[in-house]
């Protein structure tokens, strides 16, 4: 009995809320929420600080040297007296490897994302996802080491044959497919069944012979190429595409998943094959999400430092001709990483500030593309939920 009465008393105390207690609770609640908010706000403060501190050290460069030399000249001689700070070739190099890696990673990444979201059964998908995560987790310096120590000597010693085999393996299935499709399309209008068959076979053989000729002709040209240096833009582009792939796959898979079942089922009901459903209905619906994925993947390649620093050759010139991926190049990130050590001693010189100007350029590009991709994702979500 006594126990019960004690419990009774405690409980009644617990529910008595005096004015003092209420204010205390209120104050504690506001203070707690304020603390949480300030921590969350801290992130925004960091972003502002990054912009401020990078810009603070970048602006003196533009005050000393102006904009025109930086963006238009290709003479990069920062150690000279007075130094020349033409970063055009460096910016071009950055764009070149970014574009190169995008050309490899975007088709592969989107195809893999489609495969993961629409084609593979769940049981296989479970094993494919960790592979992608592992690829994303491998440190960039390990990729750079691989590019420098394994891939570069391979390219230098067996460049021509490697290019030839790459061409054959990549292009022959696509040529085969396009031969079949073109033959089919060109003969589709012929009414007479027998003649159509005849024409179809003739076209198939003719196109097939032509494509075999093309394969071997281009292959032998590629086989003859000698790669002078293994540390070149192609090497870096291949490795960067490995690094951009996981981002592209996972973000575009999310976009594809966001497209509902009803659209897919509608298309199947109209008699479309799976490929037609995906290409004609799902991809257009998810296109903006995929675009966001591509932007994020490209940013990963543009901002990557170690791979390009180790394996791009670091020579500041625009390749000759301009699309020659077999020449050494130099990128913004590698220049910052490589030159800071030498410039650091003389804080205040243009040589130090020009690196911050490059950092600011990278920062602005990444900021804008982030905003754009975010807008795109938000808009897609709105459109899809509105339907």
């Amino acid at each position: 009995m006594a126990d019960e009465s004690v419990g009774e008393r405690n409980r009644s105390n617990a529910f008595v809320v005096t004015a003092r207690k209420r204010t205390l609770q209120k104050v504690a609640k506001t203070a707690g929420e304020g603390m949480l908010f300030s921590v969350a706000f801290f992130v925004a403060v960091i972003v502002l600080f990054i912009f401020y501190f990078v810009a603070r050290d970048a602006i003196p460069f533009f005050q000393i040297c102006g904009f025109s030399e930086f963006f238009t000249s290709t003479n990069w001689y920062p150690a000279d007296e007075p130094g020349e700070f033409g970063a055009l070739a460096i910016i071009y190099g950055s764009l070149m490897v970014t574009l190169g890696s995008a050309m490899i990673a975007v088709p592969m990444g989107v195809a893999a994302a489609i495969c993961l979201s629409d084609i593979l059964p769940f049981s296989i998908r479970q094993y494919a996802k960790p592979v992608i995560e592992m690829l994303a987790a491998i440190p960039s310096v390990a990729f750079g080491f691989f590019a420098l120590v394994v891939l570069a000597p391979l390219m230098q010693d067996h460049g021509g044959p490697m290019l030839m085999w790459g061409w054959w393996i990549l292009v022959s299935p696509f040529l085969l497919l396009s031969v079949i499709v073109i033959a089919d399309l060109l003969t589709a209008n012929i009414k007479d069944e027998k003649r159509r068959q005849q024409r179809h076979w003739m076209l198939l053989i003719a196109l097939g012979l032509f494509s075999i000729f093309l394969l071997f002709k281009v292959g032998s040209v590629l086989n003859g190429i000698q790669i002078l240096t293994g540390t070149n833009a192609l090497n870096v582009s291949i490795i960067l595409s490995f690094m951009a792939l996981p981002t592209i796959v996972s973000v575009s898979e999310d976009a594809l998943q966001a497209v509902g079942r009803d659209i897919r089922e509608g298309s199947y009901a109209l008699g479309a094959t799976r490929a037609e459903t995906i290409i004609k209905t799902i991809l257009p619906a998810a296109s903006s999400g995929i675009l966001a994925a591509v932007i994020l993947g490209i940013m990963r390649a543009l901002g990557e430092t170690m791979v390009v620093w180790m394996a791009s050759g670091n020579s500041s010139h625009i390749p000759e001709p301009w699309f020659n991926y077999l020449e050494a190049i130099r990128t913004l990130t590698a220049t910052i990483a490589g030159d800071m050590g030498e410039a650091d001693q003389v804080t205040g010189s243009a040589r130090f500030h020009v690196l911050f100007a490059m950092g600011l350029l990278l920062l602005i590009i990444s900021f804008i593309s982030n905003l754009v991709s975010e807008r795109i994702v938000v808009r897609q979500r709105k459109i899809l939920s509105g339907q």
């Binding site: 609640k29 929420e33 949480l36 921590v39 969350a40 706000f41 801290f42 992130v43 972003v47 600080f49 990054i50 501190f53 990078v54 050290d57 088709p107 592969m108 195809a111 893999a112 495969c115 993961l116 593979l120 494919a128 995560e133 592992m134 690829l135 987790a137 491998i138 440190p139 960039s140 310096v141 390990a142 990729f143 080491f145 691989f146 420098l148 120590v149 394994v150 497919l177 079949i180 490995f242 792939l245 796959v249 094959t273 490929a275 994020l296 940013m299 901002g303 430092t305 180790m310 990130t333 800071m340 650091d344 804080t347 690196l355 911050f356 950092g359 990278l362 990444s366 900021f367 905003l371």
Partner: protein, 448 residues
């Protein structure tokens, strides 16, 4: 289009998708397999008697009695070489001056090759650098050096249109008619007796510090530095990230301020890693002066900022994945919102939050660019815990770069580089694997 073509197109579309996943798996294999294969070679290899000499002298390891008997037996075979060298030097004195000059150059090349193979020759001054005190410690390297001794490499520039080709000329031919010609077959035949190869498990590669900038010894300072930096970054980023995630999921009201904060978060996630390094240099070191120059603390703070968005996102997802019923049950029992968060939601979300934390830890351990200007040095010994506020540290990621691209003997130290890469990749992949396993268990638990 006819139905057959449509079917073929459909199949090939599927094939492209599966093919690209296979290519990704292959890419992972192609990168990881050589790293693992060669990296294991840094720990398990065929060591020579020179390796055991080095271990005994530098790390006081190994049985000195056994070692001295081994050294004695190898010296028996080496003595004959030294005799031949002295014999040839005497022979040189008797030659005409032109002939002497001609042979002298070749002879000094032979001497250098022998020094690289067997360590200092009798009569050489005591070398200053440890790397010259011993011969080849690894059998595979020793075989390369033997080739250097037996053959001279020359370049064929005869055709100006193609790249010049390397070819090899036997050195023995150059000494035809002198007493030294006997040296080459002798070295070749008694090679094993001079170096006594033996299978070696060099566990010290993980726990030793390096001797003479990674020529000998292990990578402990780098591993320790990596742990310091990654754990330091977590100490700052993890509490901040979880608190921010609680705010975003539980308290934030939709509106301009909230969307701005979220934009800031995704902007931070997209900033190139090298820019974090510049910011760390400009802010933590040059403005805040957390340390005189590079230091572990500056690097850890920079890494913390870099992994903050990842942690926030992972924690948010984990908190949102907690079933609504938990929250409702707790609130209906009369607990306050704060109480619910602290005693119900966070414990339920903890495994998910930890998964994100483990992945971020891996990212902090593997990242190089942010620590180049803020924390990393190329050579150095392991630092004590008290020094983290003032001194920089070697770290795996940075030293891989440094050894592979800036070290003066980069091509000779490939085995050390592979060993470092393997150590780093193992750390990062183990962290990620544990995260994957953890997540699989959570999703099972939430399903039940």
């Amino acid at each position: 289009m006819n139905i057959g073509t449509r079917k073929i197109l459909d199949r090939s579309f599927t094939a492209v998708g599966i093919g690209s996943i296979v290519v990704m798996a292959l890419a992972l294999m192609i990168v990881v397999v050589p790293i693992v294969y060669n990296g294991i070679g840094a720990v398990f290899f065929t060591g020579t008697v020179e390796h055991r000499k080095m271990l005994h002298a530098e790390f006081k390891r190994g049985d000195s009695q056994e070692l001295s008997s081994e050294v004695a037996s190898s010296n028996r075979y080496r003595a004959k070489i030294y005799d031949m060298l002295t014999g040839f030097e005497a022979e040189l004195e008797t030659m005409t001056p032109e002939k002497k000059a001609e042979y002298q150059a070749k002879y000094s090349q032979v001497r250098t090759a022998l020094q690289a193979l067997l360590g200092p020759l009798p009569g050489d001054p005591e070398p200053m650098l440890t790397r010259f005190k011993y011969g080849q410690t690894r059998w595979d390297k020793a075989e390369e050096k033997l080739h250097d001794l037996l053959f001279e490499s020359k370049w064929d520039n005869s055709n100006p249109n193609v790249m010049s080709k390397e070819y090899f000329v036997s050195r023995a031919i150059g000494f035809e008619g002198t007493s030294l010609v006997r040296l080459f077959p002798y070295v070749k035949d008694n090679f094993e007796n001079m170096l006594l190869p033996e299978f070696t498990f060099y566990w010290g590669f993980i726990t030793d510090s390096s001797v003479d900038s990674h020529f000998f010894g292990g990578i402990w300072p780098e591993i320790q530095g990596t742990f310091f930096l990654a754990i330091g970054a977590m100490l700052f980023a993890f509490p901040l990230g979880v608190i921010a995630a609680v705010y975003f999921t539980e308290y934030a009201k939709p509106g301009f301020l909230n969307s701005m904060l979220r934009s800031a978060n995704s902007t931070l996630a997209g900033v190139p890693s090298i820019v974090f390094g510049m910011f760390g240099l400009a802010f933590f070191i040059n403005t805040m002066k957390v340390s005189e120059s590079k230091s572990v603390i500056a690097g850890a703070l920079t890494l913390a900022i870099m992994i903050l968005p990842t942690i926030i996102r992972a924690a948010e997802e984990a908190i949102l994945a907690v079933p609504k019923t938990y929250r409702e049950a707790s609130l209906s029992l009369g607990s306050t919102k704060w109480n619910t968060i602290a005693t119900v939601i966070l414990p339920a979300a903890l495994p998910g939050i930890l998964t994100g934390g483990v992945i971020s830890l891996g990212r902090a351990a593997g990242e190089t660019a942010p620590i180049i200007f803020t924390a990393a040095v190329s050579v150095g010994s392991a630092i004590g815990l008290a020094d983290v506020f003032s001194s920089p540290t070697p770290a795996l990621s940075w030293n891989i770069y440094n050894l592979a691209s800036e070290h003066e003997a980069a091509t000779q130290l490939r085995h050390v580089q592979y060993g470092m890469v393997l150590a780093l990749v193992t750390i990062v992949l183990l962290l990620n694997l544990s995260a994957i396993v953890l997540r699989a268990r959570i999703s099972k638990k939430l399903k039940c």
